[in-house]
Symmetry: C2
């Protein structure tokens, strides 16, 4: 046991330091003075250096060799530590530093290129990023599939082939639903101005309604909503726009989903490798089921309608049914982050297919914009009008996040699975949601998903909660029923 | 040069990590969720572990051995690194851990004892703290004076004998002035209620007036005002009380003094050992000269009077002269942190004499309360009514900060020296201050003190700025003139 105990004591400190580094990131987006950036860069780099040294500390290998797991929890802890050690040790320090340098430059180039809608100025540095990430992927895969090795960083155990099969089955249904919905008469759009202070107040109230523990968290404003931290200190951000209170409200609910997952993990796992969300896909399943299957349901929006009228007075929407349709309005758009439930995954699937082709050398960076525009028109029936509405809209590729996009859709697929299982287990859920009581849903998710942290592999975790092998079918059934209902088709 | 360059690169990362640890402290007092404390404790401990390991890294000794300073700056950098390495290496890790554990417990016991005014329940753990700190002091002093070794942590190069000579010369003058002032008719006291939002707004404006760069800092509220951070990210906190806007305003100016010092250090020293304030005494000289010799001057309070009338309307003080007297009102009080300029140092001198006696074993912890009360009555002419107004009022001893108190008064002595030199160098300062322009003062302080960071030893730095050996005489002259003027004695 001594080796295991020593390793866990070391790991606990590493986890604590990782929390510190994460909080620096939170501070940077919320509190940091405007001109502190250059110093902050050095602080972050120093923290990364400390963490990398710990993750590749030779003592970890010795402890892993000597440690004997006595049970399921200990075995899972060792699995995660070994995974992290192996991953960190496989990538040469020089390559990691080069990737850090080039992606930092690429992010600036991307932002400037997006500003002037010029993909050509971004392409050269993107080519460099792709080459370096391929090299890293090759080091990680050790002869296996390079893209799978990248994917594994965000979704342990997932393969591109398995995801592609799932997504290829999802896509035609989404394209057909999108087309049918957009041919039907549209519900009304929200009009008017909504006080931003009142939006934040309402959002904080809704965060509590969803079980977010404010004594171990906080809500601030930031340019991009995010959730950050784990254990006893999980913070979220949201944003406000005077004309669009839904942005604030549903961004908050989405981030609360992420935060509630972290807060819901068994406290025995605090500051251990099991103490965080197990994968990006499972994380996104929680944020999306909070946001959509619960937050945008007919029952919950009925309650929300009353809250909004209390907060903003009469805002021109006549009744709960109209409000429900308004919240779930589907409309043409170029931008992934602004997409509705019907179209969101089509945006992601496009990126997944293109980035796999890039990494596999089936697509050259020169041809990326053309391939994007062609695919977009095929799925969305609309031509991309400019690069900032197309291939330049997301930051991900500039910072080397290949293998990340598919976890968004996998999260939605998982949310679809969990929603069916949850609805079966809690048949009277809607009557609680109609009163603004989310506890029957969030309790079920905490019990079946969140509390386990990193104990089970992502797919096993969802399979156990779901009682069946995860597939895209529940999500499609849910979307079809919901949107054909709203649009009367 | 290679050893020096390697050492400085290593040191730069250490400095960056120390900034991160400091910002965690800021976060804890301003932003941290209520129940995140236990996790934060582990995060702080992990950061301290990282910093301790770096400060005692054997490579530092090798680099120090091999490095050849090429000039004054390089020599000063090496001096600081060697000092830190030697200090960190002298204290056994086991003793350091024990001190951390016992002082953490003692702080809780102190707070509980203060709550019920019972020194006896605090005494046993204070005895432990004193014993451990004596042991640490003995390790640090290596045969020299134990208290001097403690003092050296906060005020490099200072000795208790030198400070005692200074303070013994200061004390009779302060006692006499206090007595004369309190025999004279008192100026009016501020009455009424002052909107706390308006106090914060005015404080931010005043912070800018004093040259605090908000693009590299920020002002938040906290229970205890403090300044935190160095270089490009120096943050301050202040507090508000509806009945006492002076608390908010002068706490802000005080912390701006600390922050301006850090912001004013030559940018070439950023994230190096020279890049922070050189000692607690010099730091306090900047906060106190901003707060008192500038902020509470007749000229500046004339301008402030107008600002307060703009912010709060007529608040019952008839004119600038009355306002000046009101700002500088002297009254009986037990609490150091609430004391006026005349009495503040009497509070500090009492603590200095008692803690020296404790460390020297001339005074036992059992007898501390009695010794406190006796001395207080001698200097202040008033009997202490309860322990929370006496020996239990400050947190310092519970957390082992022996040698810290005298730096407060040394700072005031230094502020007195600097003020005389500054007034001689900037003869028309008052006409600028009367218009709310502090630049002639703050520019002089930046040029003569702040920009040098850790380049010169504290006493040399003040001596150079002052053009004479630092002594208590200028402070006494300043206080005598100011308060005899206000009180017409």
């Amino acid at each position: 046991m001594a080796a295991y105990e020593d390793l866990m004591a070391f790991e606990r400190e590493t986890q604590a330091l990782a929390q510190v580094a994460g909080r620096l990131g939170w501070d940077q987006e919320t509190m940091m003075p405007r001109d502190a950036g250059p110093q902050r860069g050095e602080e972050m780099a120093a923290m990364e250096g400390v963490l990398h040294a710990r993750r590749t500390d030779p003592r970890v290998a010795d402890w892993l060799e000597a440690a004997e797991p006595v049970g399921e929890v200990e075995a899972a802890q060792l699995h995660h530590i070994k995974r992290s050690y192996t991953r960190a040790s496989k990538v040469p320090a020089k390559l990691a530093a080069q990737i850090a340098r080039v992606t930092s430059e690429a992010q600036g180039t991307w932002a400037a290129a997006r500003e002037v809608d010029d993909f050509a100025t971004f392409a050269p540095v993107l080519r460099e990023v792709v080459a370096l990430k391929r090299e890293e992927g090759a080091a990680l895969s050790a002869g296996g599939d390079v893209y799978d090795a990248m994917l594994d960083d965000y979704e342990p155990g997932a393969t591109a082939a398995e995801l592609a099969a799932m997504f290829d089955a999802l896509r035609p249904g989404l394209v057909a639903l999108r087309s049918a919905v957009l041919d039907a008469p549209a519900p009304p759009e929200l009009q008017g101005e909504f006080d931003e202070g009142a939006q934040m107040k309402l959002s904080r109230q809704i965060a509590k309604v969803f079980g977010y523990d404010m004594a171990m968290g906080r809500v601030d404003k930031a340019v991009h909503p995010f959730s950050s931290g784990s254990g006893l200190d999980v913070r979220i951000t949201t944003r406000t726009s005077q004309s669009d209170p839904f942005n604030c409200i549903f961004s908050t609910i989405h981030e609360v989903g992420h935060a509630a997952y972290e807060q819901g993990i068994d406290r025995r796992y605090l500051l251990t490798p099991l103490g965080g969300g197990v994968s990006m896909g499972v994380h996104e399943s929680q944020s999306r089921i909070y946001e959509n299957q619960i937050g945008r349901s007919r029952a919950f929006t009925g309650w929300l309608y009353g809250q909004m009228r209390d907060a903003f007075g009469d805002f021109g929407i006549a009744d709960e049914d109209t409000f429900y349709a308004c919240v779930n309005r589907v409309q043409n758009g170029y931008i992934r982050t602004e997409a509705d439930e019907v179209q969101y995954n089509l945006h992601v699937l496009l990126r997944f297919d293109l980035e796999r082709a890039l990494i596999a050398r089936d697509l050259e960076v020169e041809d990326l914009e053309g391939a994007w525009n062609e695919r977009f028109e095929a799925d969305f029936g609309v031509a991309v009008d400019r690069a900032s509405n197309g291939v330049l809209q997301d930051v991900h590729w500039s910072v080397g996040l290949f293998g990340y996009f598919p976890t968004y859709s996998l999260g939605n697929v998982y949310a679809g699975c969990l929603n069916e299982a949850m609805r079966a287990a809690v048949p009277d859920l809607d009557s609680a949601l109609a009163e603004g009581n989310t506890a029957p849903a969030t309790d079920w998710l905490r019990e079946n998903v969140q509390r386990h942290g990193g104990l089970y592999a992502p797919r096993d975790l969802i399979g156990q909660a779901n009682g069946a092998t995860p597939s895209e079918a529940p999500l499609l059934r849910y979307l079809d029923k919901k949107f054909r209902g709203i649009y009367g088709i």
